[in-house]
Symmetry: C2
Subunit: 74 residues, 2 copies
């Protein structure tokens, strides 16, 4: 699950990923997650943020881990 | 941090809480979190979901833990 999310976005907390994807990529990512996650162990929760909501996002404390070897998607 | 969030909302994953709050409660919750969290250890990330975004939220897998002894806020 983490691998799939990281292929499409940025890990901002241990279990939180942010992905900026178009409809086609979102369908691909969603399919991949639903086929790979363990429904009796894992919990997947998808939130849809529009641009205004994304801009309102606030962050405090330990810096979000950004992998600078990959393209930064915000 | 978890205690503060649970006072205002529902724990939907280990480190994810959803709170439906008005402006005054949001200010109170935010102040409390910022005064209680450890800025060198914890990471706080606030997302603002409007009603449409909240309705689009999707959940799969292990049921979100809902504490039925407290009022349910969705």
């Amino acid at each position: 699950v983490a691998r799939a999310c990281k292929d499409y976005g940025v890990r901002v907390q241990k279990s939180v990923f942010e992905c900026q994807v178009g409809q086609a990529d979102w369908a691909r990512l969603r399919d991949r997650l639903l086929s790979e996650y363990k429904s009796d162990e894992d919990s997947l929760r998808f939130y849809f943020l529009d641009e205004a909501a994304a801009e309102r996002t606030e962050h405090y404390g330990v810096a979000k881990p950004v992998n600078l070897t990959e393209p930064l998607i915000l």
